[in-house]
Amino acid sequence: MKLNKNTFEIIFFARGGQGAKTASELIAHAAVAEGKFVKAFPFFGPERSGAPTKMFLRVSENEIRTQEPVSDPDVVVVLDETVMDSQDVANNLDKHEILIVNSTNSKEEIRKRVPHFEGSIHVVDGNGISVDIIGKPNPNMVLIGHLIKVTEIVELESAAEIFRGVFTEKIGKDLTEKNVRAMTAGYDEL
């Protein structure tokens, strides 16, 4: 799946405080660095830390003008599997589209929870992989890596560069590189 359509639309599902915003913005930054246009914005509710939430992301080669929320995404990324209990994450995802879920469950188990969905499901053990590489659960990096692989909306290297630019100073070179490695691992995961 390439950035062949005019505008690529993604929804991230997560919980307040789990860094979905940072994740989607990382891609937005990378896309912009590649000369693309983006719109990344959260669904705003009064929900507090812990409540289910979502982020919208559009990426395009051309100026993006619409302010509509993404209602018919091309890809959906579920950063926290537990939100699937209360949210229909595959809404409007058709059979050519992709659902990426951070989980240790099997694809089949996941599919049972979105019975109407006919497209492909990618299960990535974001927590496991990040604990292995970074030493603590930071599934977002892994999932982003995987998303990049699947969609090719940005180059892995652009995302890595952006991450390095923002985080090296904050968390140190070592931790930054570990995160980048987690992303790469997500990219390589199939």
Binding site: A31, V32, F41, E63, T66, Q67, E68
Partner: protein, 392 residues
């Protein structure tokens, strides 16, 4: 907004509208910023506070205890000769309402970045123009923008405008749609902005001990009217300054701003008039309909106060049917932009039109292309209601 990139002069970044305004403010180098937090303005002031904490800007920031005081401190700073800015939204704009006509009445060049939002009650923190419409008659210039890029550009333009015209200015972005949406923004080099806005040259300043001034006098029945007429005249002059600044700004940025943006308007029979972020959605819809051979177009108003009656009247003269889309409620009246468009048509001596009033996007309600299609369909069918229609 024309997005032609002048690569060598710009840096392309992914910023939300709040960050974009903060970035512009950083480059403008205000002497003083007095603020009070309110959603969705917080993206501006938090970003700026962090810039300050990191030594990227030297501005004296005053974290006040209310918006009334935020604007009061801004008044004090501006009167003292400083370049003074603030930012607010919604309840905040109303909390400081008492001070707003004071700023304009005194002719103080204050810049207030606004992230527009619904008013209570019920409480709602989402985007719409109800707050800025509530203060539209207070003698402030109001400039609307569509995207984060406009938020950035308009902040720079507004600063120059306020200091040139001696009239306070609000660059306005749609709360959330613009303030919290990360987009591609071309940022100018610091030096370019610095030299574009120059230094503030205060004619009167409290800090000028050699020329002690008294600001905030009492004008009796015999003089107040004259002051107010002078103020109205100064407001009218803003249009010329604004156009001039836009031309200059295009030179340094390659981006065109102006009173209005006419989108596929020239030969359009059916026209939507509106302001702010949702214009993007309308543009996409116009393209869809144009692809079907329909002669539809959009007139987007950028400078809302002072309102460009004449220019609007001219732009719309040829249209067959017009729909005005307000993002603000009207209780017991018609909404503001609609009334201004009617007035424009009378000003232009153009009486043939029936004009329809629509209200959309209230309290952050999503406006979809389907809504816009419906409006164009009404226009095509000549269904010009005498009542307001709501795009709910």
């Amino acid at each position: 907004m024309n997005n032609k990139t002048i690569k060598n002069k710009s840096n392309i970044k992914a910023l939300n509208g709040g960050y974009a305004m903060a970035e512009a403010l950083r480059q403008i180098k205000p002497d003083v910023m007095a603020v009070y937090p309110i959603t969705p303005q917080t993206t501006i002031i938090e970003t700026f506070a962090k810039m300050k904490a990191d030594g990227l800007v030297e501005t004296e920031i005053i974290q006040t205890e209310s918006e009334h005081s935020a604007m009061s401190a801004t008044i004090g700073a501006c009167a003292a000769g400083a370049r003074a800015v603030t930012a607010s939204s919604s309840q905040g704009l109303l909390h400081m309402a008492e001070t707003l006509p004071v700023v304009s009445g005194l002719g103080l060049p204050v810049l207030m970045c606004v992230s527009s939002r619904a008013l209570s009650a019920p409480l709602n923190i989402h985007g719409e123009h109800g707050d800025v419409m509530a203060v539209r008659d207070f003698g402030w210039v109001q400039i609307f923008g569509e995207q984060a890029q406009d938020a950035y550009d308009n902040t720079i333009i507004a600063l120059k405008l306020t200091e040139m015209a001696g009239v306070p200015v609000m660059p306005i972005m749609d709360g959330f749609h613009t303030s919290h949406t990360t987009e591609r923004v071309e940022v100018l080099d610091d030096e370019i902005v610095t030299s574009f806005v120059g230094q503030r040259q205060a004619e009167n300043a409290l800090t000028d001990q050699k020329n002690p001034i008294t600001i905030g006098t009492l004008a009796l029945q015999s003089t107040y009217f004259e002051f107010k007429v002078d103020q109205a005249v100064a407001m009218q002059k803003v249009k010329t300054f604004y156009k001039k600044i836009c031309v200059e700004y295009a030179k340094i940025s390659g981006r065109k701003h102006g009173l209005l943006e006419a989108y596929k308007l020239k030969d359009a029979d059916h026209v939507i008039v509106m302001m702010g972020a949702t214009a993007g959605t309308v543009k996409d819809t116009v393209d869809t309909l144009r692809a079907q051979g329909k002669k539809v177009g959009l007139l987007k108003i950028n400078l809302f106060r002072p309102f460009p009656y004449k220019e609007v009247g001219e732009e719309l003269a040829h249209a067959k049917n017009i729909a005005v889309l307000d993002r603000a409620m009207a209780f017991g009246s018609f909404p503001p932009l609609f009334q201004d468009i009617l007035t424009s048509m009378q000003s232009a001596g153009s009486k043939k039109h029936d004009i329809a009033s629509y209200i959309y996007g209230i309290g952050g309600r999503d406006t979809m292309q389907s809504h816009i299609l419906k409006v164009f369909k009404d226009l095509e069918n000549g269904e010009i209601s005498k009542n307001i229609k709501y795009l709910q």
